[in-house]
């Protein structure tokens, strides 16, 4: 692959990729270990004519991002656990009002202030369920600097195409690690669907025929439409309980559900004949990969699989990957979160085991190997 060779941090890669994806607005509030994203963008965005603002808190940052997106800007915010908790109310707003936006959460050890500089993967379930009420959401989690770059661009594309908030779930390791990456020369960039009707006829929440996603006009372009966090009709006007309300909620949630197949992105190694598969995501997948390779070298039938998409969880894909295994081991830097989904996906076909570590250190290949050997013996 050709392209500029760079050596950069995960957080930097995220910032660079965001600009590449078309980011023109960032609002944030500093918090370790996400701050380098804001710091990079404070430097970079003005140089490309974009807007960087440090808001008074995370709630305001999320709000500003939604406001900016409504004017047509591609907008992002970045935070870490405590700030991610604070953003939840407005993330739900973006989900219901179908405002594209990307929210980066660089995971550190929680709960609460926790261990602010230590890595964790403790916000996996929160990323799916953190705001009140049913809502659509897409959550991506990279395991390398290069994948951070790619998933950031994909996050924008998904967000724009589906008009859904996308959460980019980094962890402190991926965020602060520096790796070589080759900046791709070509990337495909998607934009939100634009209205095809003139202002007078525009219905902001009516999907085009054959689609489930309504086209989105920019504020200031003469469409004069209403956006609300109340349930609303196709015209955007508030509505009460009833069939229309149910239709709205089902439609916005189906936008993601229906695209489960498109939203699968897994990496699989040596799984065909594996009796045990180590399945992971984020930085932990790096250890899982090494552990599985080490064990293969030693002759064990161990496979490796990882997913880049956390939500919607790739249950179907995982069932296929693990079709021949008797055990799937899920190492995570939490007390066992994604393993809950793995269980639901696989309980009828094989044994699912959790391996968790919550001391603020990365899981090592060695400990995964030891656990696998215990299981296999």
């Amino acid at each position: 692959m050709s392209g500029e060779v760079r050596f950069m941090q995960g957080n930097e890669a995220c910032a660079e990729a965001a600009i590449r994806a078309g980011l023109s607005f960032f609002a944030g509030y500093p918090i370790t270990p996400s701050t380098e994203i804001a710091e990079s963008l404070a430097d970079r965005l003005p140089r490309v004519g974009g807007t960087f603002i440090q808001m008074e808190d995370e709630i305001a940052s999320m709000a500003a991002v939604i406001g900016a997106s409504l004017t047509g800007a591609k907008a992002m915010t970045a935070t870490s656990g405590p700030g991610f908790s604070l953003k939840q109310e407005n993330i739900g707003y973006a989900a219901l009002a179908e405002v594209p936006c990307v929210v980066v959460n660089v995971q550190r050890m929680g709960p609460s202030t926790g261990l602010p500089t230590s890595p964790a993967q403790g916000d996996v379930m929160q990323a799916r369920w953190g705001t009140h009420g049913d809502h659509p959401i897409v959550v991506l989690s990279p395991f390398s600097v290069r994948e951070t770059y790619d998933l950031t661009i994909w996050a924008f594309n998904i967000s724009e195409r589906l008009r859904v908030p996308v959460i980019l779930l980094l962890d402190e390791i991926v965020a602060h690690m520096r790796e070589k990456i080759i900046i791709p020369e070509e990337v495909s960039i998607e934009d939100r669907p634009s209205p095809t009707t003139p202002p007078g006829e525009y219905l902001p929440y009516a999907p085009l025929p054959g689609s489930d996603i309504p086209p989105m006009a920019a504020f200031g372009d003469g469409y004069r439409y209403h956006v609300t966090g109340l349930f609303h009709s196709e015209s955007g006007a508030p509505i009460g309980k009833g069939e229309k309300a149910e239709q709205l909620l089902r439609r916005i949630c189906q936008k993601v559900e229906r695209r489960r197949a498109e939203l699968v992105r897994t990496q699989v190694e040596n799984c065909e004949d594996a009796e045990l598969i180590v399945f992971s995501y984020g930085a932990t997948a790096r250890s899982a990969l090494r552990a599985s390779r080490n064990l293969r070298e030693r002759g064990y039938r161990v496979g490796f699989a990882k997913t880049s998409v956390i939500w919607p969880f790739p249950a179907e894909a995982l069932r296929e990957i693990a079709a021949g295994a008797h055990t799937v081991l899920v190492p995570e830097m939490n007390l066992g979160q994604l393993v809950l989904e793995v269980e639901r996906a696989l309980l009828r076909q094989c044994q699912v085991l959790s391996y968790s570590r919550v001391d603020g250190e990365m899981i090592t290949p060695g400990e995964i190997e030891r656990r696998v050997l215990e299981v296999l013996s």
């Binding site: 008074e56 305001a60 707003y93 109340l230």
Partner: protein, 274 residues
């Protein structure tokens, strides 16, 4: 003129949800007249509100309108203004929305002097949730959460905003419709953060529970208890006790935020760091 404000309303959304005699409709009318007076481009004006009876106003306004989450209107509006500075951005908010849950965004928007005109519909109560006391409820008032009379000391909202920053602060009541129109129109002309506190009546909750009578009685009370800021210096302190000071309260000449940002972008593009 009256011909014109019709075009500023979404007629299919009317009649509005507000109670009979609620002052919010009056404030909305004044805002629309001020928009007309200030000659704003309807396609380049965005109205943002929070949550509350007052904040429902955006649903009736034929502009790009954004009805956000409780207290956060100014933060959403800041995003809009910064992302597209050529737009005129107006925030509609209530005393609860702006000063209780939203107090921080209010003082920060003022501090930054970002070019947003905020009209706060201050009715001394949380109307939407049926009458709890707000940070502007006068001490001693009855509300559903102050059955023994509120012991909280209210904010002087205009004074608070002025201390936080901003370029323009003014106050009027729903009795002073012409004054209110003029003050809002002036606020819209100001380059920077402008704040108009529009005192409004909630006959349903604040009025009823505090025996303030009908909407008409409440307006009469506004009339009889207001003093124009121009007259303040001429009056002895006793006569100002408990009075509402109306008129333009503050004006400052500070650089508007998006203007400062534009200059920053020039510097950045020119490679200059400071």
């Amino acid at each position: 003129m009256s011909e014109h404000i019709r075009g500023y309303l979404r007629d299919q959304a009317l009649p509005h949800i507000w109670c009979a005699g609620c002052g919010h409709g009056t404030v909305l009318g004044c805002l629309l007249r001020a928009i007309q007076k200030a000659g704003l481009d309807q396609d380049k004006t965005v109205i943002v509100s929070g949550i509350g009876c007052s904040s429902r106003a955006t649903g009736y306004m034929n502009f790009d309108t954004l009805h956000t989450t409780h207290g956060r209107a100014l933060a959403f509006a800041t995003g809009i203004k910064l992302a597209r500075p050529e737009l005129k951005v107006i925030v509609i908010t209530g005393d609860g929305d702006a000063a209780a849950i939203g107090g921080n965004h209010l003082i920060h928007a003022a501090r930054r002097n970002v070019g947003i005109t905020t009209v706060c519909f201050n009715n001394y109560i949380y109307g939407m949730t049926s009458g709890q006391y707000s940070p502007s409820t006068p001490t001693g008032s009855l509300a559903t959460t102050s059955p023994y009379g509120s012991i909280d000391i209210p904010f002087d909202l205009s004074r608070l905003v002025q201390a936080a920053g901003g370029a323009y602060v003014a106050r009027a009541t729903t009795y002073h419709v012409n004054l209110l129109i003029n003050l809002i129109a002036e606020a819209l002309r100001v380059d920077g953060f402008s704040f108009v506190e529009a005192l409004s009546q909630c006959p349903t909750y604040f009025g009823r529970r505090n025996r303030r009578g009908t909407a008409v009685d409440m307006l009469t009370w506004f009339r009889d208890n207001s003093v124009n800021v121009k007259a303040v210096s001429k009056l002895p302190p006793e006569q100002l006790e408990g009075k509402i000071i109306v008129g333009e309260l503050y004006r400052a000449n500070l650089k508007e935020y998006t203007q400062a940002y534009r200059e920053l972008v020039e510097r950045a593009k020119g490679g200059v760091k400071r």
